[in-house]
């Protein structure tokens, strides 16, 4: 098409046009002023668009056609686990018995929903090697918040009020420190050693009576499994702290090793990563946490328990409280439940084995073309560095943008922070080998282009609906809404 810019829905508006029609009011109408005093009533009408149903459908269809997604192509986005989202899950979530039930119905009238929650909690406990689950958290970061609150409540409950520090590796995801701040914890950073893992010696020096706990992903954000995890756990536990497992990387270990067995006390899972609930352009996700028996009493609630064949809600005895209304993202975690049931124990193990095999295959296929900072077996993802390409005046961002020209989503870039020009690739287990091979070929081609024709990269993308966008101006002079 000659003009690719799609107008805003507001720019399609025509006064008086209608897009939806209510049934006629079938009760006797009372003048509004008799029901609500004039001064409460709106004067200024909001500038909602006035468009027909066709215009709405066409607007969003057109928008969707300039958007990338898993359904469109490969998404090697490290740390995000962009695997296939089974379509049948959408059918299940749309059943009136799930989509159209109210959170305040009598418990006896929602036993199916409660049973589902109960089973899912149990299954997640099984998978994590821990004891008790809450499904309240709406995303990974929300799970972190919940988990840290539980840790805090645990210490407080024991009268151990002076523990104010959480230790976090430098490679950690930004939500880890941010979540600590949200519960009033101070962050103490532990550096990575030359193998990309927690520097145990340094750690020993960091723990102490102020240590509330340690947050870790394992495999970590470099895609590497921290072999010293047993020592780490011991060090932290000995110091009186607890271990928090950021489950964003759990796709590597399903059915292979359980966080509980590694020594973790609290785990969150990003169901929208590991358990394949779709990302929806940024959410909704679900970030349930699972904790050890000892910590169960502090979980945010309500949680579901089973009582004489009936399922019912209850608040854990010393619950930190509610962290969202109702019961979390029910229609999201329902899909994770479906995912677990479809796979079974064999299937889940195969998920992780395949994800890890894929990642190693791809890493080895690319390491001659891009610098590999940690040359060891990786788990479900791996981190390259664009530093070789820098000598041609090419940045990692340019490599990422060039990939868009080839019809791929870019990997995660500039994360983790402890690798310069980081390129983090996660193929996931649901990609066919052919797709991986094509991607590898394109990555090699781009490495060659970087050398022979760096312009191609620095001016990329050229074959996308828009070219590179001016982010600096956007932040300096923010325009956050359309105005008439």
């Amino acid at each position: 098409m000659i003009n690719k810019t799609i107008p805003l829905i507001f720019e399609r508006s025509t006064p008086g046009r209608l897009g939806y029609q209510l049934p006629n009011l079938d009760v006797p109408e009372i003048p509004v002023s008799e029901l609500i005093p004039e001064e409460y009533l709106r004067v200024e009408e909001p500038e909602l668009p006035e468009v027909s149903e066709l215009e709405v459908v066409r607007h969003y269809t057109q928008l969707s056609r300039i958007n990338y997604a898993v359904d469109v192509g490969f998404y090697p986005l490290g740390s995000c686990t962009m695997k296939y989202n089974p379509r049948v899950h959408e059918d299940l979530a749309a059943l009136p018995g799930f989509a159209n039930i109210h959170p305040y119905q009598p418990e006896s009238s929602v036993q199916g929903a409660l049973e589902l929650m109960y089973n899912l909690g149990k299954h997640l406990a099984t998978i994590s090697g821990l004891e008790a689950t809450t499904l309240q958290p709406a995303a990974g970061a929300h799970g972190e918040l919940a988990g840290l609150m539980v840790i805090k409540a645990y210490h407080t409950h024991r009268g151990d009020g002076q523990r104010t520090e959480i230790i976090i590796p430098d490679s950690a995801h930004g939500t880890n420190p941010a979540s600590c701040a949200m519960v009033g914890y101070n962050v103490v950073e532990v550096p990575s050693n030359e193998r990309g893992a927690v520097d145990v010696e340094v750690l020993k020096g960091l723990v102490g009576p102020k240590t509330a706990g340690l947050m870790l992903t394992n495999p970590n954000t470099l895609g590497l499994f921290d072999e010293n995890i047993a020592d780490i756990a011991e060090i932290v536990h000995d110091a009186g702290g607890l271990l928090y497992y950021d489950g964003a990387n759990a796709n590597a270990i399903l059915g292979i090793v359980r966080p509980g067995d590694m020594g973790f006390d609290v785990v969150h899972y990003n169901l929208h990563k590991t358990f394949s609930t779709p990302h929806g352009g940024g959410g909704p996700g679900a970030g349930p946490i699972v904790v050890s028996e000892e910590l169960a009493q502090f979980l945010p609630g309500p949680v579901v328990h089973k009582d004489a064949g009936c399922y019912c809600f209850s608040m854990p005895e010393h619950s930190v409280g509610r962290i969202c209304s109702f019961y979390g993202n029910f229609l999201v975690y329902l899909k994770a439940y479906a995912y677990i049931l479809s796979h079974g124990s064999d299937g889940l193990r195969a998920v992780s084995e395949t994800a890890v095999l894929h990642a190693n295959y791809m890493m080895r296929s690319l390491q001659e073309y891009y610098h590999l900072p940690y040359d060891r077996i990786c788990m479900h993802e791996f981190v390259l560095s664009g530093k070789w390409q820098r000598e041609y005046g090419v940045r990692t961002l340019d490599i990422a943008k060039r990939l868009l020209d080839y019809g791929y989503h870019a990997p995660t870039v500039y994360f983790p922070l402890n690798v310069e020009e980081a390129i983090m690739i996660e193929p996931t287990e649901t990609e066919p080998k052919s797709t991986m091979d094509e991607f590898i070929e394109v990555m090699r081609k781009i490495a060659k282009e970087a050398k022979d024709n760096p312009e191609l990269l620095t001016s990329a993308p050229q074959n996308t609906p828009l070219k590179r966008l001016d982010e600096a101006t956007a932040a300096r002079k923010p325009i956050l809404r359309w105005s008439k």
Binding site: L41, N67, F98, H102, G174, P278, P284, R322, K467
Partner: protein, 448 residues
Amino acid sequence: MRYLPLTSEEKQEMLKTLGIESVQELFEDIPGDMRLKEDLDLPKGLSEAELVRHFHELAEKNANLTSNVSFLGAGSYDHLIPSIIKHIVGRGEFLTAYTPYQAEISQGVLQSIFEYQTLIAEITGMEAANASMYDGASALAEACLMACAATRREVVVLPRNLHPEWEQVVRTYLENQNVSITYLAFDPKTGIIDLPSLENIDWDEVACAVVQQPNFFGLMENIKPVKKLVQEHGGLLVMAVDPISLGLLKSPGELGADIVVGDGQSLGNSMGFGGPSLGFFATRGNKLIRRMPGRVVGETVDEDGRRGFVLTLQTREQHIRREKATSNICSNQALNATISAIYLSVLGKKGFSDVAHQSLQKAHYLKQRLLQIPGLSSPFSAPSFKEFVIKGAVNWEEINLRLLDQGFLGGLSLARYGLYDLVLFSVTEARTKEEMDNFVNVLGGLVG
């Protein structure tokens, strides 16, 4: 396994490339004694047909609102949902996209969210809105924390007629940051904030005062006195609103609020047993806008000068600021925000105001009819919108079970909050006169 494409030949090829014999070698970094020796204790994997059957069985154990007529509300509402919404957001490009970090290939999501932000700003009368929060309750908690940060104060004022669960969520968030809460009583006659109780507060310490409009009892609050007091003393006015009410009621912007939050479920999202929904969050003034938690989409241009959209003001966020971020929120409720944007777009000016108007009319119709039942009365005198409280000396939870036998989901018994004789009804434009008349008849028989 239908979701795992790897064939055994391909596996062999890959192993060969890696120079190993078996996948197990890739897990050598994991200490052997930690590794699972046996299968996880989970049921066997199911085929699609078996999975669907299992879910149908579970779903049938729930009484749904397609087959039953409901008067439940209290934060989750069965407003009509235009059919097109699910067709649009069911498109893979919306459903299976990641957060739009690669703007050049994510304009669809980015523009939708930009439009969402505009729509929320318009209905709330504010300058800017973020790209969504988890839900209304957590958005309110974040608003309080933001007010504390902006005012450098540590007291938040909450009314007792705030939704009890929202109050609990706010409490959970605030307690962990050592922010203290002062409560405002409500007048037992009117049901709205007790004006004299405003006097007992040391407003100079208050970061913000929260008002829910309509309040938990469905009643219209008088915002002015609170606004005056809190703002005169350098605090902020935070309003938690039912977005549907904004088709009729003065916008928080018009009323002078500093931060507005609410739950967006009623804007086209299914109830789904409470989630996913979304929290909306709007504010005004450059200073407050730059303190907003959560993602924001902004307008910009590409290299050819064409308009485009990007995630912006990211320095507020945890990717960059880590522990100094305005919030830890990362994934939000983007698809629900898209849903709400479509809802508001297809309803348009007239539809949006019609929904509010019909909900108001129908709620008052039911209220009048219920008050004709002997033994039932109206405990609060303030004007109400689409929800209202009825008083009656019966066990409402038991009544509800009996109503269910007849296909009705009655109002929410407030016994769970210690308000024993009270029940909260909600009526939306989706209810018909016939349904309400039938309900009144049945309820009359049970109460009488």
